[in-house]
């Protein structure tokens, strides 16, 4: 399992493009939104939590189809499916690798981009914390979507259509944590629910994703 994780990470860092693309997209989005909305600080401060969360979500979406597609093409997914570790664990490891490559860096650069969007200072710790708790859910839900569409030729667009509705609760609670944090309000409830979604998804979705992969490899 550790070997699989290291292999996925190495592939992601070396293959070029895949790793930086999401971050670049996130950066561009955070720069483009103020250009489109106008430079007024108060407006930007109001929309900053939502924009940052939507940006992180879309950046995550960009690299989802790579979770299984490349392995499916060169046949290593078949090998992994017949390997001694259960397929559920393979899915979980691959989602973890995806999170380390996209979710974690997104979380780390988000405070920097929040400066562009004039996020109130009180929001910064909560932005980082909410992304840290929420992006694992994005990766694991995305892995489920990728598992559903792994056998398809033009799976990319379909993948977004399937995954985006599933992202709704995560987005709502994530945005809510930052918004409340920025306005110095009580935020224990959305934070707990966000963590619950991440943990619940991580516990249950690998089973759904693994059964989808088994169907696709049949």
């Amino acid at each position: 399992m550790k070997a699989l994780l290291l292999r996925d990470l190495r592939l992601a860092f070396r293959s070029g493009g895949g790793f930086g693309l999401g971050l670049a997209f996130f950066f561009l989005l955070s720069v483009l939104v103020p250009l489109g909305v106008g430079p007024e600080g108060s407006t930007l401060a109001r929309i900053a939590p939502g924009i940052l969360w939507v940006g992180a979500l879309l950046a995550c979406l960009l690299s989802l189809d790579r979770i299984f597609a490349l392995d499916h093409e060169d046949g290593s997914l078949d090998l992994l499916a017949t390997a001694p570790i259960p397929l559920e664990a393979v899915v979980a490891i691959k989602a973890l690798a995806h999170w380390i490559v996209t979710g974690l860096p997104l979380t780390l650069i988000a405070p920097g981009l929040a400066i562009f969007l004039n996020l109130p200072p009180a929001g910064y710790p909560w932005l980082v914390l909410s992304l840290l708790l929420g992006t694992p859910a994005l990766s694991i839900i995305g892995a489920f979507g990728a598992a559903l569409t792994v056998g398809l030729r033009r799976g990319g667009l379909l993948l977004s259509l399937l995954v985006l509705p599933l992202y709704v609760p995560t987005l709502i609670f994530g945005g809510e944590v930052v918004r409340r944090g920025a306005e110095n309000m009580a935020l224990a409830t959305p934070l707990a629910l966000l963590a619950a979604i991440s943990l619940g998804a991580a516990a249950l979705l690998p089973f759904a994703a693994a059964s989808a992969i088994r169907v696709n490899l049949r």
């Binding site: 489920f144 509705p165 609760p169 709502i172 629910l193 979604i197 989808a212 169907v215």
Partner: protein, 242 residues
Amino acid sequence: MSIWEYANPKKFMQTSAWALPWAVGLTVILLVVGLIWGFFFTPDDYKQGSTVKIIYLHVPSAMMAINAWVMMLVTSLIWIIRRHHVSALAAKAAAPVGLTFTLIALVTGALWGQPMWGTWWAWDPRLTSFLILTLFYFGYIALWAAIEDPDTAADLTSILCLVGSVFALLSRYAVNFWNQGLHQGASLSLDKEENVSDVFWVPLLVCIAGFILLFVTMVLLRTRTEIRARRLKALLARERVA
């Protein structure tokens, strides 16, 4: 005699061929009676005027939009557990019908909302969760359309339906929380059963029954079409081999 006999396509075709004319007839009678009664023979509401009559389309279609998804969930489960093809095809047949009901509910809701709340759309919890339900229907239908092998498609859409149901429910409550948490919720209450008087309530019941039967009719019809399409494909394949 168990209900699983209807999982046999032949038995299903026989029974549904018998039931279909009855279902069509009852649907037409109930909808004609209910809608005409509702539209022409009920008084205008003292506050809402005649816009209140949208209720006869809006409430039944909204109910059926949710019930259609529940029916898809049940048939998906039956497919996963017992692998009856009719069940999977019924789920496939129900999805576009459910999507249409969802869209009807959204459009009639907008038409009703415009004069009553002064806006076509508000990010009210109910409206938002229906919009999300629409997205789920789109994803489900698109996944059926994208996969060529029918059994793979049935398996994957069933899994999507199970996972989607959980997340649709989560979204439903997430949206609720969000709107009540920060903003004043728009004062929409579809739970009008207590305060609506019998004058409106009885024709509404007739319309709801009519919509339920409409759904049953459409699903039966579409499932029969799907079974015939499947048989045609098998025949063509056999001919190609011969």
